[in-house]
């Protein structure tokens, strides 16, 4: 401890009632906030003054083609994530099964679908007719694969199956995070393995699974733009259709950007509430996070 340099710094016990306590001033916070604000204003002003026709952006924000694309983007996000999460959970459970056949299938699935670039997977599904010209039971119920593999179906399969491979790993990590004692307790009251899985393991794994799934959900909103490559008219494809005609490239891309950010913001709020719901019984979790924040502040 540094010794006080003058008598003004010495504190005697009897002085205490006459002294005023001044809270620590966070000068660094104020200074950095001002700098950040200045940078943000600079960027906004630059964009506003740039060679971009903002009235066109405003005009196309609610254009029917754009709104139709927006709906397709949202619908595709939910469909692909539904397929992805369903297959991911099944695959994760298979991976942790005692059955070596199931384990191997899961391992192979994750290996293959994580290994092929997403855009390529979309092309393969869309062009599946090259490998399987017809689909169904020969002679009974058969259709042309080209009729079945619409851009919508190919996109759902392509995006969903690839997502499933990633989600499988997330769910597996979640399941492994559950204390083995919980499983024994479930078995102890006579639960079968499948009941333990549904009632005990998965609900508790959700707490660990949800944050990364929310992350992947948001990632999927933007990943759907890949489907424009196989003629699925999501919002980016809609924007492209317009700017191919009008030539207002950047303007239409800003329109798409605006809607992506809106959708992602709404999903982020939803994620917050779902996570809260599944962290029941973990009251200590928030205070711990708050403590870390205080310490790093």
């Amino acid at each position: 401890m540094n010794a006080p340099t003058s008598t003004a710094e010495l504190v005697a016990e009897e002085d205490l009632p006459h002294l005023t306590r001044v809270p620590r001033r966070h000068l660094g916070r104020w200074a950095s906030a001002v700098v950040v604000l200045a940078v943000v204003v600079f960027i906004i002003v630059s964009f506003a003054r740039g060679n971009i026709d903002w009235p066109t952006v405003g005009q196309y924000l609610t254009d029917s083609t754009i709104l139709h694309g927006l709906v397709s983007t949202v619908v595709m996000t939910f469909l692909a994530m539904f397929v992805g999460i369903t297959i991911g959970v099944i695959s994760a459970v298979m991976r942790l099964s005692e059955n070596p056949v199931l384990r191997t299938i899961s391992l192979g699935y994750v290996w293959l679908f994580r290994g092929i670039p997403q855009l390529l997977q979309l092309y393969i599904w869309y062009n599946l007719a090259l490998v399987f010209p017809t689909f169904g039971i020969p002679g009974l119920a058969e259709t042309q694969t080209t009729q079945l593999m619409t851009p919508l179906v190919a996109s759902v399969l392509g995006l969903g199956l690839c997502q499933g491979a990633y989600t499988s790993e997330v769910v597996r990590a979640g399941i492994l995070s559950v204390d083995p004692g919980q499983i024994e307790a479930g078995q102890g009251i006579g639960m079968t393995r499948s009941l333990v899985l549904r009632r005990i393991i998965l609900p508790q794994a959700m707490r660990v699974i949800l944050p990364p799934i929310g992350n992947e959900f948001i990632s999927m909103v933007k990943l759907t733009s890949l489907a424009s490559a196989i003629q699925f008219t999501e919002i980016l494809h809609s924007a492209q259709n317009i700017y191919f005609v009008s030539g207002k490239v950047m303007e239409l891309l800003f329109v798409a950007t605006f809607w992506y950010i809106v959708v992602v913001s709404v999903l982020s709020v939803g994620q917050h509430f779902i996570e809260k719901r599944f962290s029941r019984g973990h009251g200590s979790r928030r205070p711990a996070a708050a403590r870390v924040q205080e310490e790093t502040a």
Partner: protein, 253 residues
């Protein structure tokens, strides 16, 4: 009378380690048996074999006259399916060292989970039983709490109530007070003592010599995966016949 639990030459290996080297034991209906022994003696492993949390590698176990883990068909013993094992476990209550309450469920939901989901009983009935059990373990007001909001002693009492909700014929306790702060041990032992007074058949792996001396009808002392000595608490604690028992008792008393 046929014993409720009968073990003949039970063996268990973990890799190269032989945890149980031929355990012979019997527990009769209404009896309280305490299993004592140094750590690593196999006492918890033996307890876990009784409700098949561990499979056995040799010998045989009967609970309520039923062979544990196998079904006889002619001259063959067929290994039971997961479903059949779960069914055998229903009448055996288990209390763990680390409580293992379902963390995502309230105290009430912990207790009614088995009766509702496993026994497929009515929810209203299960809630009524749960409230009676909570009152019995001294936690009448805690039905809505989550396990993380309770002390260790309270959690363990809920765990006992959860096991009792299945109306078991046998209760197994695996070091139920070892993870508790010293001042919380008493409340759990009190609940166990009153349970013993109702005539419940209990097998208790414990280090609580005082509890064993007071409540147990019989004490089994294990060491090195074998039963070294057994008898009334009076006999085992005051005049142990084996040197290993004497050494253990002089270390813990």
């Amino acid at each position: 009378m046929m014993p409720l639990v009968k073990a003949v030459g039970v063996e268990k290996r973990f890799g190269d380690f032989q945890a149980l080297r031929g355990i012979d034991a019997e527990v009769h209906e209404g009896e309280v048996v305490c299993i004592l022994g140094p750590s690593g003696s196999g006492k918890s492993t033996f307890l876990r074999c009784i409700n098949q949390l561990e499979g056995i590698d040799g010998g045989a176990l009967w609970v309520e006259g039923q062979l544990v883990g196998y079904r006889r068909s002619g001259n063959n013993l067929h290994q039971l399916s997961d479903k059949e094992i779960a069914r055998q476990r229903r009448s055996i209550g288990m209390v763990f060292q680390r409580f293992n309450l379902f963390e995502h469920m309230s105290v009430l939901d912990n207790i009614i989970e088995g009766p509702v989901r496993v026994l497929k009983g009515s929810r209203a009935e299960a809630v009524k039983t749960a409230e009676e059990l909570l009152a019995r373990v001294g936690l009448a007001g805690k039905a809505g709490s989550y396990p993380s909001e309770l002390s260790g002693g309270q959690q363990q009492r809920v765990a006992i109530a959860r096991a009792l909700a299945m109306k078991p014929t046998l209760m197994l306790f695996d070091e139920p007070t070892s993870a508790l702060d010293p001042e919380l041990v008493g409340e759990v032992l009190n609940v166990m003592r009153s349970l013993a007074e109702t005539g419940m058949t209990m097998v208790v792996v414990t280090h609580e010599i005082g509890f064993a001396r007071e409540v147990a009808d019989r004490v089994i002392f294990m060491d090195g995966g074998q039963v070294v000595e057994e008898g009334t608490p009076q006999a085992v604690f005051t005049s142990p016949q084996h040197k290993r028992t004497r050494d253990f008792l002089s270390a813990v008393l």
